[in-house]
Symmetry: C2
Subunit: 142 residues, 2 copies
């Protein structure tokens, strides 16, 4: 069932570069770096390996949103829950911690204007879902 993942020099190089930095590079940025040692690697390969590494749990993809932007007319600071199966986003009424911005500002010297907190998991509807396809998607079995 589950695919056997092979180790290739391309994949190994991408992971090594990513482990050697804390700069949270973009796919294109990684592409530029890998090219120095594998000049004819393609951008598609970088994307494919990033997806594999993510599925294997070796790297994280940082984003607070999916592939497209979502908008919210509630401009008071509040937190969100994103269902990892159906993609819906729910507002939470969790209290907003105002002190934490000051603490981070004090520690880092940065000017902190806001923070965004997003929880992830399964919403109630999707917990009940017994669709094999949905489950497969959720478990990342593609």
């Amino acid at each position: 069932m589950s695919t056997v993942h092979r180790n290739t020099k391309q994949k190994e190089a991408i992971l090594r570069i990513l482990k050697g930095t804390t700069s949270h590079p973009t796919a294109d940025c990684i592409y530029e770096q890998v090219r120095r040692e594998i000049p004819n690697i393609s951008l598609g390969t970088v994307y494919r390996n990033l997806r594999l590494l993510k599925q294997e749990g070796n790297i994280l993809e940082l984003s607070l949103a999916g592939s497209f932007s979502r908008f919210d007319a509630n401009t008071k600071n509040h937190y969100h829950f994103r269902c990892e199966l159906c993609g819906r986003i729910f507002d939470l009424d969790e209290p907003v911690d105002k002190e934490i911005d000051k603490r981070v500002a004090r520690k880092t010297g940065f000017t902190v204007t806001q923070h965004r907190l997003e929880f992830r998991g399964l919403c109630i509807d999707c917990q009940r879902s017994d669709s094999p396809e949905s489950l497969k998607k959720y478990l990342g079995l593609t």
Copy 2:
């Protein structure tokens, strides 16, 4: 200097639709709804008005606006700071609150697997920056 924003029926409709829902719609979803009352509105107009409404502080965009994915080989849960001027992302050593997931789960009935916390503001380098262009961008004066 600062641009005078006009009120148009297109912009008014977009804001009204957004204020009437908590579903965090995408631009395309908003477009579909506005078309019911302004059939020949264009998607470009929707995007332009969403940008204006965001600049005016009337709505929030829940994502990395027009940005791309960034990757991180540090898979231990940790928090980030995003500089709103230069776009760089920094790791924070703020302690991760493990209780908060349980609290949200208890309140909502959702299954919570993780949370992501991102602070935003100005990094030290950009605080020092006196580039008029950068400042303009930061203040949203386009």
